[in-house]
């Protein structure tokens, strides 16, 4: 019978918390960057101008169809060779996950935008709005509400995918957990604690999101 002993793990809790902090920093960076990138990619993809829509489509497809670990290695080991730039683990990770989640967010934005009835475009055009004004004032505000659940889902996915950065020695929660496991010879306890940290954090965020969603629904703007 295995004898659980969490004491050595808790005595190294400083390391784990530092790792958790880094995970949050990376997730927040990639999330905010990814939302901006995703919106721009979606708008470009939906543009009637082919020189905008085609490249956007290619970027989106490439990043959706290649494994995130390959993308990470490519940015970390490959990009410095081509561009002669200095790559830190954080920079490579932030770039990879910004563009990668941007590609997924772009598809969510696009689906949300095209789900808005044509009549909304027409009514806005008929009072003289330009394409950009329609998008900003009429279409996006409605689309974002419809997209909210899939956005949340994607963000949670993103947070979990960032564990891959441990492979390029960025000191995220998983990387730190490995260190602690080797130090304490208590891998079972360490990874149990780490799983619980993800579990509680993501559950808490999901709970907040569900509440916000209910509030959106209650403000009556959902139904036509």
């Amino acid at each position: 019978m295995y004898e659980w002993n969490f004491a050595p793990v808790f005595s190294e809790s400083g390391l784990l918390l530092a790792g958790f902090r880094n995970t949050l920093i990376l997730t927040a960076t990639a999330l905010s960057g990814g939302l901006v990138a995703g919106l721009l990619l979606a708008l470009a993809r939906l543009s009637p101008k082919r020189w905008l829509s085609m490249p956007a489509g290619i970027v989106i497809e490439v990043f959706r169809t290649t494994p995130p670990l390959v993308q990470l290695f490519w940015f970390y080991f490959g990009l410095p060779i081509i561009l002669a730039v200095e790559m830190t683990p954080f920079l490579a990770a932030a770039l990879t996950f910004t563009i990668q989640s941007g590609a997924f967010f772009a598809e969510i934005f696009r689906a949300g935008i095209v789900s808005i009835e044509r009549g909304q475009w027409e009514a806005a055009s008929a009072i003289g709005m330009s394409h950009n004004q329609c998008m900003r004032r009429i279409i996006l505000p409605q689309a974002v509400k419809r997209m909210f659940p899939s956005m949340m889902e994607r963000s949670i996915e993103l947070m979990k995918t960032t564990t891959l950065v441990a492979t390029v020695s960025y000191a995220d929660l998983l990387f730190q957990a490995n260190e602690v496991a080797q130090k304490t010879f208590r891998p079972l306890e360490v990874f149990t604690v780490v799983a619980l940290m993800y579990f509680f954090f993501i559950s808490f965020v999901s709970f907040l999101a569900a509440r916000m969603e209910r509030r959106f629904a209650r403000s009556g703007e959902f139904s036509l």
Partner: protein, 257 residues
């Protein structure tokens, strides 16, 4: 005679192989109230939508106040830039069958939106104007409600107020009462009649033939890919000369008492 307010010359539109109409010419003078009748699929909506360029006509020129909109090409198809569309839509307003209110904005927000976003009017001023327009359609008390809380008739009246707030010189109505319960039709027709009495220029697609008879200065009957017959309400609705018009009206009067 002064230039007509709106003039269509040799308008044509097709969707793929389907020629909806061709060779349509129409002059609209200030104060004209033109009702457009015709069977389903005769191109009433398409004609109206070509007038404010929600659809691009294949050929023809569109003049407003004597000014040509867009750049006619040698092929006969004009090119319209976003600036042309804006010029046109400042002067031509449209009311839709499905209302198309903005669900994420309050009633007053809907009416003020064009003023703020397109005209750059200060929000407080725009709201004041919106309230005045809502007053006109009898909905001042709903200013802060969301559209989802309104009845169909109320929604359509808000949509009319939204259009009026932009001070268009010409109003286009595409079956404004067709999506409504019969009991709610009257309140919307009442607002349109009021606008007619004020001397507004309007083009109205409708199946309410009695209403068309009372408010119109002219009736266009669409059939056979164009304006099949046109004239005063008495000429067209009481004494139609041509067979398809006669048949259409007979069909419509079958269940009248």
């Amino acid at each position: 005679m002064t230039a007509p307010l709106l003039s269509l010359k040799n308008f044509a539109k097709s969707f793929d192989e389907n020629q909806v109409f061709s060779g349509v010419n129409l002059d609209v003078q200030p104060g004209d109230r033109i009702s457009i009748l015709g069977a389903s699929g005769s191109g009433k909506s398409t004609l109206l939508r070509c007038i404010n360029l929600l659809e691009t006509p294949d050929t023809g020129t569109l003049e407003i106040g004597g000014e040509i909109i867009g750049n006619p090409q040698r092929t006969g198809k004009a090119r319209y830039r976003e600036r042309d569309l804006r010029t046109l839509r400042q002067r031509v307003g449209m009311v839709f069958q499905q209302f198309n209110l903005f669900p994420h904005m309050t009633v007053a927000g809907n009416v003020a939106e064009g003023l703020v976003t397109v005209r750059g009017v200060a929000p407080a001023k725009a709201r004041e104007r919106a309230l005045a327009e809502l007053q006109r359609v009898g909905l001042a008390d709903k200013a802060d409600a969301y559209p989802s809380r309104l009845s169909g008739g109320q929604k359509q009246r808000v949509a009319i107020a939204r259009t009026l707030a932009m001070d268009p010189e010409i109003l286009l109505f595409d079956e404004p009462t067709s999506a409504l319960d019969p009991a709610l039709v009257g309140e919307v027709l009442g607002v349109i009649e009021q606008l007619a009495r004020e001397g507004r220029t309007m083009l109205l697609v409708t199946h309410e033939i009695g209403f068309a008879y009372h408010v119109s200065t002219r009736i266009l009957f669409l059939a056979e890919r164009g304006i099949y017959e046109s004239g005063t309400p008495d000429e067209i609705l009481k004494n139609p000369k041509k067979p398809i018009t006669q048949q259409f009206l007979a069909e419509h009067q079958r269940f009248q008492f």
